[in-house]
Symmetry: C2
Subunit: 415 residues, 2 copies
C-alpha cells in the first residue's frame, strides 16, 4: 500500500497533467466513467453488500445504513451525475478580469485549478463519485477519504473511475482513494501541506472543528447549519407557517434545515399555537424559552445548549424576542454562519436583517432549504462553505479553482 506521502506526491504530478487538459477531453472522460459505472454495477453492488453486512453486524444507525446502501437505481443516478457534470461549463481558463497598467503591462486574471484537493467525508459512496467528477472537471487531482463503513463500496467505485483514466491515457493518481481508514492516516492527510492545496471536510460540526484544529493544509469548512427563521411582527403568518414546515420537516437531517425559531413577541401568542398545530402531524418536538412556554405550556424548556445545537432531527427550539435588534443579536451569537431567514412584510426590517446578519446566505421570505448548489443554479455542489475565506455558501465548480495573473509585457522594468 502507498503511504499518504506517496499519494500526495503522485497526486501533485497528476494535477499538472489535469491542469492542461482540454475541456472536450475532460468531458469524454466523465462520460466514459458514467458508462463504466453502469457496466460495473454487479461488482459495485457485491462490494456494497459487504459494507452493508458489516454495518448490520455492527448495528450501525438506520439513517447511516440508508445512505450507505446502493442499488441499481442509485448507481444509475451516480452515472447521471457524471454526465451532468460533463455538460457544465469548464471554469478553467476563464478570465475574471483583464486590464492594462500605466507601464503598458497587460494583466489577465485567469482561472486555474487549485491543484490537489483532499476530501474527508461520511460513509456515503455517492460522494466518492460526485467529488471525483467535480474535482476532475475543474482540473484538480483528488485524494478521497470516505467513512470506513463504506470502504468496500468506495474501493469498487474508485477502481472503476481509475480504470477509465488509465484506459484514456491519463494518470490514475488523478483520483485516489485512501484505503487505510485509520485516524492516523486521516491526520497525516490533514497535515500534508507539501502536496495538498485544500482540504474539504464534510461531517458533523464537531468533526469539522477537530479538522480545523489538526490541519495545517488550508481548510474549507462546510456544512454545520444551526439555521434560524425569524418571524417578524409584520410577517404574513400563513407564509411563515408554510416556510417553517418546509424548512423544518422536509429533510431535517440536512445542513440547510431549520433548527431554531425566533419570533417577535407581538405575534408570538397568535402564531405559536397555529404553528404547533400545523407541526403536530410531523411529530416535531418543540422546546422553548420561558415566554414560549407561557404560550405553549406543554413544550420542553430550552437551555443555552439548545440555542447552540444543530439537532439534525425533528426538534425545534423557540425563542421569543422583543424586537428585530434582539433577534439579530441572538442569531449572530448562536448561528453557524450558514443560512438565516426573516419572514416579514416590513421593508426596513428586511433591509436591516440582510445587512446585519452574518451568514453565508440570508433570506427574506423564503425557506432556508434553498441553500444548495443546484437550487442556486450552479449545476453542481461540492459542499456549503460556512467560512469567509475563498468561497462562502454553496460551492460549485468555480469554488474548486484559484486564479493566476498572467502579465504580458514588452521589456518593462520597474521605475
Amino acid at each position: 500500500m502507498q503511504s499518504i506521502q506517496e499519494m500526495g506526491q503522485s497526486a501533485q504530478a497528476a494535477a499538472f497533467t489535469l491542469g492542461q487538459l482540454a475541456t472536450t477531453k475532460k468531458n469524454q472522460v466523465l462520460l466514459a466513467m458514467a458508462d463504466a459505472l453502469v457496466a460495473a454495477t454487479p461488482t459495485i453492488l457485491a462490494a456494497n453488500r459487504q459494507d452493508m453486512a458489516a454495518a448490520n453486524a455492527n448495528q450501525v444507525r438506520q439513517v447511516m445504513r440508508d445512505r450507505l446502501k446502493l442499488d441499481e437505481q442509485r448507481i444509475a443516478t451516480m452515472a447521471t451525475g457524471l454526465r451532468q457534470v460533463a455538460t457544465l461549463a469548464d471554469p478553467i481558463g476563464v478570465i475574471d478580469k483583464g486590464w492594462q497598467t500605466d507601464a503598458g503591462l497587460q494583466i489577465a486574471q485567469q482561472r486555474v485549478p487549485l491543484g490537489v484537493i483532499a476530501m474527508i467525508y461520511e460513509a456515503r459512496p455517492n460522494v466518492t463519485v460526485d467529488a471525483a467528477a467535480l474535482t476532475f472537471k475543474s482540473g484538480n487531482a483528488v485524494i478521497l477519504r470516505g467513512g470506513k463503513e463504506a470502504l468496500q463500496s468506495n474501493i469498487a467505485l474508485a477502481t472503476v473511475l481509475q480504470q477509465v483514466l488509465v484506459d484514456l491515457q491519463l494518470p490514475a493518481a488523478a483520483i485516489q482513494l485512501v484505503t487505510d481508514t485509520s485516524h492516523e492516516t486521516a491526520q497525516a492527510l490533514m497535515r500534508l501541506d507539501d502536496y495538498v492545496d485544500v482540504l474539504i471536510p464534510r461531517g458533523s460540526g464537531k468533526f469539522i472543528k477537530t479538522v480545523v484544529q489538526t490541519a495545517t493544509v488550508p481548510v474549507i469548512e462546510t456544512g454545520a447549519g444551526n439555521c434560524h427563521i425569524y418571524v417578524d411582527d409584520s410577517a404574513d403568518l400563513a407564509m411563515a407557517r408554510d416556510i417553517i414546515i418546509n424548512a423544518k420537516t422536509q429533510r431535517p437531517a440536512v445542513c440547510n434545515a431549520m433548527e431554531k425559531l425566533v419570533v417577535n413577541q407581538q405575534v408570538a401568542a397568535q402564531f405559536l399555537p397555529q404553528l404547533a398545530a400545523a407541526l403536530a402531524p410531523y411529530n416535531v418536538e418543540l422546546r422553548g424559552d420561558e415566554q414560549a412556554q407561557a404560550i405553549l405550556p406543554t413544550i420542553t424548556p430550552a437551555t443555552t445548549e439548545d440555542w447552540a445545537t444543530e439537532y439534525n432531527d425533528y426538534i425545534l427550539a423557540i425563542k421569543v424576542v422583543p424586537d428585530l435588534d434582539a433577534a439579530i443579536k441572538h442569531i449572530n451569537r448562536y448561528n453557524t454562519k450558514h443560512s438565516e431567514a426573516i419572514i416579514t412584510n416590513d421593508y426596513a426590517h428586511s433591509q436591516q436583517f440582510t445587512k446585519q446578519i452574518d451568514a453565508a446566505v440570508v433570506y427574506v421570505n423564503a425557506s432556508t432549504r434553498f441553500t444548495d448548489g443546484f437550487e442556486f443554479g450552479f449545476g453542481a455542489e461540492i459542499g456549503i462553505s460556512t467560512q469567509k475565506l475563498h468561497a462562502r455558501g454553496p460551492m460549485g465548480l468555480t469554488a474548486l479553482t484559484s486564479t493566476k495573473y498572467v502579465v504580458r509585457g514588452s521589456g518593462q522594468i520597474r521605475q
Copy 2:
C-alpha cells in the same frame, strides 16, 4: 492589560459596527487619522527614539534599523497613505453577481467585510498605519502585532488612531495593538478562532511556515518570493539583461526581487558573460550549476539548497537548462508560487510558460518587480498572497472582504 481573548471579543463587537458604516464616514475617519498623525509627530518621534536606542544597544541589523526609523517625512508619508486610502472605492456592498432562480428567488452576491483580521508583521511602524487604514476602509476590525523592536513606535501610532475613533464615536477596539510581544501571546492570537476570521502573517518564509503549522485561524500566506527569470533561446538578450538588472538589483530585499536565473543552453555561452559584465557594478555574487561555471569559471558552485533559497540579497544563482520543458520543471519544483518570468520572442513558448508555471503572477518580457498592489493599479496593498485560496497575488481592499448571498423571495418553499 487585556487578555488576547478579551481583545478578540471586543474586536468582534467593533467589527459589527464597522460593517455597517457608510463610506463617507469611513473616509472622514481616515482623513482625521491623517491629520492626527501629523499633529502627533513629536510624540511619535519620541517613542521611535526609544525603539531606536534599544535597537542600537541590541546591535540590531542596519537594514532593520532603517525600516524602524521614523522622521517627520516618514510620518507625513503615512498620513498621505491614509488620505489615499480614503480616495479608494469602498468594496463593501458591491454586488459581484446577481440572478433569478427557477423558483423566482432573487439572489445577490454582495461584498461584506471579513470581520476581524489579525496581522503579525515585522518591526516596521508604517505597516501599523497601512494595515489599520486598509482593514478599516474594508469594514474590518484589526488586531495588530508588530515586531517587538517597534513596540514604542507602534503604541504611539495606535494611540493616535484609536483616539480618532473615540473622538468620532466609534469603538476603539476597531484597531487594537497587541502590546505583549511574547511568543505565547502571538501563538494565542494564531489560535483565536472564536474571534479572528483571518490571520495575515508577514515576514520570512520560515516564519510564515511556523504560523501555518501553529494557526487554527485561517491564514493567508504572504510574501515568500524565490522568483525566477527564464531566458529563452529566442530572447532579446539586451531586454533580458535590462530586466534582470532591474529585477535583481533595484531592491534585492523585497519579495518580488529576482533570485534565480534559468537560461537556455543555446544562448548561455553568449548571454552569461554579457550579464556578468552588466551586473559587475552592482556587486552581485553569482553562483551557478556546472554548465554556468564552465562559462563563468570564477563563480561559486550552486547547491541544491541554493535553488530553494530566497536570498533577499545581492546574490543570483544560475541554472542552465536544455529547453523550456526543463526550465518549467525546475521552476515549478523550487519556486514559492510568487512571481516568475520568461524572456522570449517565441509565441508558443510564451503560451506554454504562462500556462504551465504554477505561481501567483507569471510574466512574459517584464520584470518580476511589478508584482505589487500599486503597480497593478489596486491603489493599495496589504501583502502578496502566495497561496491559492481566497486571494492570490497582490492583495488590495477586495482581498480583505468576503461575500454574502442575499436572497429575496415571496414565500418560496423547496419542492
